[in-house]
Symmetry: C2
Subunit: 430 residues, 2 copies
């Protein structure tokens, strides 16, 4: 089918326009060290969304918001047909990099702009309409959980629960979004397919000299919300044997998480990214520590073994530190594949365009992981230099950014023309 | 000299009045679990100070504030003479106990009320005037450092620096105090002597069946402000070997602090009470952790050895966790004695009144530790049940509270009559 679609290459002018817009994007929430701080519904996020709405409208796309503030740029050429949804998220972690999410939204937009021009020039009507998407609050640093916008869109998270979620200052999502005009009342455009491109955030592509990662599955993961309960005490006067130090218990757990990863080198990633101490006063033994502990694994059997070891350790720490540990599993995923037909479609695109490509798993979560449960979804990666991410030094080379845009454009073209709908045995919900 | 002062015993009526006022005091910032939350210059602290000013005035004391908001209740019977300063602090840690500080302020006030009545009834003019004191911000949970009010009063901390100190919300001491009317413009009354009574916050008195602790010295201490520097990274995608996880480094340090205390059982207390993670986001490896690490010790040689081991461990953790550790010693104290003449005076008072008494060291810091560097100072302890403190369950039995009030009254009486000024070789600054 590829022959009927026409050659896909990015012109120098298109590449420059893309990089110019990307530089402009990176000004929103820019930090002194070359990164961005653009947490969900922050001033910087809001200002960037306004700019992006203007960009979409200047290319003839209609801008629409759903009930959780997902931002869509719609091109409806086939009245009533469902949409190929392409994009990512523009919110960021604090002091984060410029590429994470933002690259995928802008690449989705430029791919859509180029296809719109093509179709206009060639008087082609595609089989599906186009929706560029900027998912709300993918990062989850201000409002937990992450991937909030795509979770509501796909029905995994009730919209009422999402809107009621509060940040540390007690501001709810509804309160943060209401004054911005980004809170719509619908469910967003109906999807037929989805595509997302993202930086890898690891270093496998770079190490292998591969430009385009064809994401075939996501790592298995177990994510725990852990509370360590001790008792407040004077941090000087209280004799050591009497202490029930919640921070000591939590520290033993943070150290164990690293030791656990060391037992399964390469196969298991563990982390405690968030940890809050109460009362967190200089002269008080902590009575409570809350932390988030993640295990991510390329092998479900290893993950099961690691979880068992972790549970043994919970009990040991309770004994050693004289604390109580309660924990709930907030997420538990197995190795979760993307549709193989989508991977094949992406491979065909990369091959035709002559970019080095290879299959890869994603360790990080992405909105496409939600979307692939709803519709056939294609996920692409471009390399991250030295794997640096969630860091102001995050970097992807311009030629890789443009290569990714090139492949994404062909992927969206193929999806819009119905290449996956035509695949034998492919069930399409629309 | 004791014979000339007259017998000291608390009448039932005086005891009941004291316990009634103490119950009233405990209503300010009361928590559901029987404790208090009355951080410096909080609403509860302010309301309690207003109540206390009224109590002082109703007993004929003139209320005055100095430049850092220390609250004084003055009884000037000998015009121009310096003061016996007696009291403690009414601010508390978050979710703290009712006794810490508050007991000492109220006992100081009731001792002063009783002496004022005595002197009026007997037409006695003491040699020194009386100042009941409620030191500002002893706890240091909202505004660091602790013992702020007494540090400014004794000239250890510049007032400008104290007033500019901000809490986590960015509110300065000056801003918090200005609207309350508690910010005066003077240096407070000149001191000749000082007395303070406090709950022990440990369990030595209880274990020994002793009612009155005669505090002879404070433990040596080294207090560190530690920053662990790593690098922000994706907590899932980043391979483990690439991580520079500041929280892992900090956790190794928290665990080591406990191991260090275990090497010197009973002699060394260690603690990390405050620990802050940046950016503290669920999916980000922390780039920076700041924490406060204290070593407190009854033996200066042990403390020196512990400090040396700690510095070795700093270097090991930098290597193991691939982080940088910078630290400054914010406080460094040796074993620091109270004036032996003051201890002898307190012993004489306890003996005459027939209370079981014994010498004890203080592990915790108290405003009297600042004051004893300026003037001869007497520090008394009463027992803490099971040593529980900085905890809503903090408890001291009523009869111990009243016994402490009784001894404190006699101590203040002796100080006001010049018993220490008369001691051979005792230098009194006034």
């Amino acid at each position: 089918m590829a022959e009927t679609i026409g050659a896909a290459t990015v012109t120098l002018e298109q590449a420059e326009a893309f990089l110019r817009d990307f530089a402009k994007m990176s000004e929103f929430g820019a930090t002194p060290n070359g990164g961005v701080d653009r947490q969900a519904a922050s001033e910087a996020d809001i200002a960037q969304r306004r700019w992006f709405a203007g960009l979409l409208e200047s290319h003839g796309f209609r801008v629409e918001y759903d009930r959780i503030g997902n931002q869509f740029g719609l091109l409806e050429l086939m009245p009533g047909a469902p949409y190929v949804v392409v994009g990512s998220h523009m919110d960021s972690q604090p002091t984060a990099g410029r590429y994470d999410g933002a690259y995928g939204v802008l690449a989705g937009a430029h791919a859509a702009f180029r296809l719109a021009e093509e179709w206009r020039a060639e008087a082609v009507i595609p089989r599906y309409n186009l929706a560029v998407v900027n998912w709300f609050n993918e990062e989850g640093s201000r409002f937990v959980p992450s991937m909030m916008g795509s979770s509501v869109y796909t029905g995994v998270l009730p919209v009422g629960q999402a809107l009621a979620t509060t940040d540390r200052a007690g501001v709810s999502v509804a309160e943060a979004l209401a004054p911005t005009g980004f809170l719509g009342d619908g469910d967003g455009p109906p999807a037929a397919f989805c595509a997302e491109i993202h930086i890898e955030q690891g270093r496998l592509l770079e190490n292998a000299g591969t430009t385009i990662g064809l994401v075939s599955a996501s790592w298995a993961a177990s994510k725990y919300v852990v509370t360590v309960e001790g008792a407040q005490a004077h941090s000087g006067a209280t004799i050591m044997d009497d202490r029930q130090d919640a921070l000591y218990g939590a520290a033993l757990l943070v150290v164990f998480a690293r030791e656990l990863a060391d037992r399964f080198p390469g196969a298991l990633h563990t982390a405690v990214g968030q940890l809050d101490v109460y009362p967190n006063s200089p002269v008080v033994v902590a009575s409570e520590v809350k932390l988030l502990l993640d295990l991510r694994c390329a092998d479900e059997a290893v993950l099961a073994e690691a979880n068992a070891l972790l549970h043994e350790r919970f009990a040991e720490i309770e004994r050693v530190a004289n604390v109580g540990i309660s924990q709930t599993l907030s997420h538990e995923w197995g190795i979760n594949p993307y549709q193989p037909e989508g991977v094949a479609l992406a491979r065909a695109a990369a091959e035709r365009l002559g970019y080095a490509h290879g299959e890869i798993l994603t360790v990080a979560g992405h909105d496409s992981i939600n979307m692939k449960e709803m519709v056939p979804t294609v996920m692409l990666f471009v390399p991250s230099v030295e794997g640096v991410s969630h860091n102001e030094g995050e970097y992807t080379r311009d030629d890789d950014l443009v290569a990714g845009l090139d492949v994404l454009t062909d992927v969206v073209r193929r999806l819009a023309h119905g290449e996956l709908a035509a695949s034998a045995g492919m069930k399409v919900q629309a």
